[in-house]
C-alpha cells in the first residue's frame, strides 16, 4: 500500500508491483544479445558494410559474372525483406509471395514496353522508349506503380485470410499465388481490346525498357555498375523502412498479433487493419523488386512465376531467422548467391565429376528443401535470430514453459496457435 497514489483505488499498488514482477521475469528470460552486436560496434559494422557495399563493383569488371549474381541476389534480398514483414513480423505464413513478383514484373511489362501497343504514353523516358508505341514510364514511376498495384493485390489476397489462422492462411495465399501464375500463363487468352492481351504468357513480354535517369542516361547490360547501385539503393530504402517499421507502433502491433492474437485484439489492436497493412506493405516491396528483376532480365515471362520461387524466398527468411531484418538480408544474399552464382557457375558440374549424370541447377529446389529441413531441425531460430523468436523456437524455453504449466508452443503467435 505504500505506493498508493492520490485518487487511485486501493489495490492498484499491489497490481503494479505484480506487473513489475512479471515484467522482470519476462526480461530475465529474454536472451541478451552478444556484446559485439550492441551499441557502438554494431553501428561501426553497419557503416563498414555499407561502404563495402557501395564500392564493391570497383573490384570487378563492368560485366563481371559475380556482380551480375550480386545484383540478382540483392533483388532477392529485397523480396526477403518484404516477405519478412508478412511472415516474420505479422506471423502470417504466406506461400504465394510469387504473386507479387509476378505483379511487379508485369507492372514493368505493362508500363515499360511496347506491349500495350495501342497506347502512346511517354513519361520521362528517352531513346527508343520515347518514340515507340506503348506505355513507357520512367523506372521510378514504374517502381511506384508496382508497389501500389502489389499493395492493392496484397490487400485483396489478405482479405479472405482474415478469419483464418495458421496453416489455412498458407494454403489460401498459395492458391492465390497459383491462380496468378495461371493467369500469367493463360493471359494470352484474356483480350483487353484493340487486339491486346493481358500477358504474353510463356512467350514473355520482351524488350522491356531499361531504367533511364536524366543526367545518368540509360542503363545497359554491358555496364552492370549502375544496375548494382540502383538495386543497392532500393535495398537500403527497404531496409530503412523495415527498421523504422519494426520499432513503430505498427511493427509492435504486428508482433503482438503474431504472439497472441486474442490478447492483442483485446488490448485494442485493430486486427483487420493491422493484418492488411502487413500484407500490403510486404507485397509492395515484393513488387518493387519484381519490377527491377523484370527490367534486369529484359523479359517478363510467365514461366518465371512458379511456386518454387515463393519457397526460395521463404527459405531465405527462415535461414536468416524469422522476423529478423538482418537475417532476411543475410539469408537473401546467401541463397541468392547460391542460386545465381554457386550452383550455376561454380558447382554445377560437380555431380558429373563424381560420376553422376545430372546438373546441380536442375535439383536446386531440392537443395533448398534440404536446407529448409536442416535449418528447421538444427537451428530453428535461423542464422541471425530475432530475440523474441529465438525464445519461441528453442527447446529449452519450451521445457521451461512446460515447468511453468503453460506450454508456450500452444499459446504463442497467430501462426503457432
Amino acid at each position: 500500500m505504500s505506493e498508493r497514489r492520490v485518487g487511485e483505488p486501493s489495490g492498484w499498488g499491489e497490481l503494479r508491483a505484480q506487473l513489475r514482477e512479471w515484467r522482470a521475469a519476462v526480461d530475465s528470460r529474454l536472451p541478451t544479445p552478444p556484446r559485439w552486436l550492441g551499441g557502438r560496434w554494431s553501428r561501426l559494422l553497419a557503416a563498414v558494410l555499407i561502404v563495402i557495399g557501395i564500392v564493391l563493383p570497383f573490384a570487378f569488371s563492368q560485366d563481371s559474372g559475380f556482380i551480375d549474381a550480386t545484383i540478382k541476389a540483392t533483388a532477392l534480398a529485397v523480396m526477403a525483406l518484404g516477405l519478412n514483414i508478412v511472415v516474420g513480423f505479422a506471423g502470417l505464413l504466406d506461400l504465394g509471395y510469387v504473386a507479387f513478383y509476378a505483379l511487379g514484373a508485369y507492372s514493368l511489362g505493362w508500363f515499360g514496353s511496347d506491349f500495350f501497343f495501342k497506347a502512346h504514353v511517354h513519361v520521362l523516358v528517352s531513346g527508343v522508349a520515347a518514340i515507340e508505341s506503348g506505355i513507357h514510364l520512367n523506372f521510378l514511376l514504374i517502381l511506384v506503380a508496382a508497389a501500389l498495384i502489389c499493395a492493392i493485390a496484397g490487400t485483396i489476397i489478405g482479405l479472405p485470410t482474415l478469419r483464418l489462422r495458421g496453416d489455412y492462411i498458407a494454403i489460401v495465399t498459395l492458391a492465390f499465388g497459383e491462380i496468378i501464375g495461371e493467369v500469367a500463363v493463360n493471359g494470352t487468352d484474356i483480350h483487353i481490346g484493340g487486339g491486346m492481351t493481358l500477358t504474353a504468357g510463356n512467350l514473355g513480354i520482351s524488350a522491356v525498357d531499361s531504367p533511364y535517369f536524366p543526367g545518368i542516361g540509360r542503363f545497359n547490360l554491358l555496364q552492370l555498375r549502375p544496375w548494382y547501385w540502383l538495386i543497392l539503393g532500393i535495398l537500403f530504402l527497404v531496409l530503412f523502412v523495415n527498421l523504422r517499421l519494426r520499432d513503430s507502433r505498427l511493427g509492435r502491433a504486428w508482433i503482438a498479433l503474431r504472439e497472441d492474437e486474442v490478447a492483442a485484439v483485446s488490448m485494442g489492436i485493430p486486427l483487420v487493419k493491422t493484418k492488411l497493412q502487413a500484407y500490403a506493405i510486404g507485397a509492395a516491396f515484393g513488387g518493387m523488386s519484381g519490377a527491377f528483376i523484370g527490367t534486369y532480365f529484359t523479359t517478363v515471362n510467365a514461366g518465371q512465376f512458379q511456386f518454387g520461387f515463393s519457397v526460395l524466398i521463404l527459405s531465405m527468411i527462415i535461414i536468416g531467422g524469422l522476423g529478423s531484418i538482418w537475417g532476411a538480408v543475410l539469408g537473401g544474399l546467401l541463397l541468392g548467391y547460391i542460386n545465381y552464382w554457386l550452383l550455376p557457375d561454380v558447382l554445377n558440374n560437380a555431380p558429373s565429376k563424381i560420376g553422376l549424370n545430372f546438373q546441380l541447377t536442375s535439383v536446386q529446389f531440392g537443395i533448398y528443401g534440404f536446407l529448409l529441413v536442416l535449418v528447421m531441425i538444427l537451428r530453428p531460430q535461423g542464422l541471425i535470430p530475432e530475440r523474441r523468436r529465438k525464445l519461441e523456437m528453442t527447446a529449452e524455453i519450451g521445457a521451461q514453459d512446460a515447468e511453468l504449466g503453460e506450454p508456450m508452443a500452444t499459446q504463442t503467435s497467430g501462426v503457432a496457435s
Partner: protein
C-alpha cells in the same frame, strides 16, 4: 448471426459447387451439343449422356483425389499439420509402381491372370513403400518439431516436398513419361444409357471403395483405430490413458502413405503417364478436397475428392480445354475458405473458426 452464417455457408457452398454441372446440364438440354458427325453433318443431341460422361469421368478422377485427401485429413486430424509432402509421396508411389512393373515383368503382352496378380502384388509393395516413406518423413521432419511453433513442421513439410520432387526428377527426368497401358483403361466395359463406362473408371472406383471401407473399419473397430481417434481428440489425455502417442502418429502416417501409394498405382494405370510434378498439383487438389469435405473427417475427404473430381472434369472438358482447371479448383478453395472454412460436413475447428 453465427447460425445464419452457418446455414448460408453450407448452402452457399453447395450451390457454388453445383453451379458448373448445373449450368452445363441446362445448356446441354436446351442448346444441345454436338455428339459427332453423320454423313458429314454434325449430330446435335439434347440429352444427358454427355453430362453423364463428365460426371463419371469426374468421379473416377475424384476417387484418386479421395485416396490422397484421406492422407491429408488423417494427418491433420491427429497433429493439425498440413502434410505438404503428401502429394509427393503419392508421386513416389506412382514411380515405385511403374518401377515394379518392370521388376515383375509386367508388359503389354502379359496375360490377364498375370496382370491381375502382378498388379495386386505391385499394389501391396507400393503401399508398403509409400507408407514407410511417410513414416520416415514424420520421424525425420515432424517429430523433432512436435513442441515447436506450428510454422516449423509446415516449413519442413514444404522442404520435404521439394526433396521428393527432385528425387523424382532425378529418377525419371523432367518431362512426363508415358507408361504401358497395362489394363487397357480406355476399353468400354458396358454402357449406361449411352454413357460408356471404361475400365479405367471402374478400376479407380474399385480400388478406392474397398480401401476406404477397410480404413473405416480399421479406425472404428480396432484397438489401434480407437487409439487414433483418442489421440486426435486429445493427445494429452490419450497419453494419460496409456496410449503410445508417437506410435499412433506413426501409424496415421503409415495409413496415409499407404493410401497415397494405392492412389499412385491407380493414377499410373489410369492416366498412363507419370512425371515428377504430378504430386504437387495432385496434392493441392486433394488438399482442397479434404478442406471441402471438412478437414479431419474421412467421409468428408472422400466426398470432397469426388466433388473436386467432377468439377475438374467439367472444367477440363467444357471450359477451354483444361488450362484454367487449376485456377478453378483454387478459386473454389478460396471461396470455401471464405464461406465455410470447416467444409461441407466438418466440425468447427479453432484454426478455421
Amino acid at each position: 448471426m453465427a447460425l445464419l452464417r452457418t446455414y448460408i455457408g453450407r448452402w452457399g457452398l453447395i450451390a457454388m459447387l453445383a453451379a458448373l454441372p448445373v449450368f452445363y446440364l441446362v445448356r446441354d438440354l436446351t442448346h444441345g451439343y454436338q455428339a459427332g458427325f453423320l454423313h458429314g453433318h454434325p449430330v446435335i443431341q439434347h440429352d444427358l449422356s454427355r453430362i453423364g460422361l463428365n460426371v463419371v469421368q469426374g468421379l473416377s478422377n475424384g476417387a484418386i483425389w479421395s485416396l490422397i485427401a484421406i492422407g491429408y485429413t488423417l494427418v491433420y486430424g491427429i497433429i493439425e499439420l498440413i502434410n505438404f509432402a503428401h502429394g509427393d509421396v503419392f508421386m513416389i508411389g506412382s514411380f515405385v509402381a511403374v518401377g515394379l512393373w518392370g521388376t515383375f515383368g509386367l508388359g503389354l503382352s502379359t496375360g490377364a491372370a498375370g496382370i491381375i496378380g502382378g498388379l495386386l502384388l505391385t499394389l501391396i509393395v507400393t503401399m508398403a513403400v509409400t507408407g514407410s516413406l511417410n513414416v520416415l518423413i514424420e520421424r525425420v521432419a515432424y517429430r523433432p518439431l512436435r513442441n515447436a511453433p506450428k510454422l516449423a513442421p509446415l516449413i519442413t513439410a514444404v522442404g520435404f516436398s521439394f526433396i521428393l520432387q527432385n528425387v523424382g526428377l532425378l529418377w525419371r527426368g523432367g518431362s512426363p513419361q508415358s507408361v504401358n497401358d497395362l489394363v487397357h483403361q480406355g476399353n468400354t466395359v458396358f454402357n449406361i444409357s449411352g454413357v460408356p463406362i471404361e475400365r479405367g473408371y471402374l478400376l479407380a472406383l474399385a480400388t478406392m471403395i474397398p480401401l476406404v471401407f477397410a480404413l473405416g473399419w480399421f479406425i472404428s473397430k480396432t484397438r489401434l483405430g480407437r487409439a487414433m481417434r483418442a489421440t486426435a481428440q486429445d493427445p494429452e489425455a490419450a497419453r494419460l490413458m496409456g496410449i503410445n502417442v508417437n506410435q499412433t502418429i506413426s501409424l496415421t502416417f503409415l495409413l496415409g502413405g499407404m493410401l497415397a501409394g494405392a492412389a499412385g498405382l491407380v493414377y499410373a494405370l489410369y492416366q498412363t503417364n507419370i512425371w515428377y510434378f504430378q504430386g504437387f498439383k495432385a496434392g493441392l487438389i486433394a488438399f482442397t478436397a479434404a478442406v471441402m469435405g471438412g478437414i479431419g473427417n474421412i467421409r468428408g475427404a472422400v466426398l470432397g475428392g469426388l466433388i473436386i473430381g467432377v468439377i475438374q472434369s467439367f472444367s477440363d472438358n467444357r471450359l477451354s480445354g483444361g488450362e484454367w482447371t487449376e485456377a478453378v479448383v483454387f478459386g473454389y478453395l478460396i471461396l470455401i475458405m471464405v464461406l465455410r472454412p470447416r467444409g461441407l460436413i466438418g466440425e468447427e475447428t479453432r484454426e478455421a473458426g
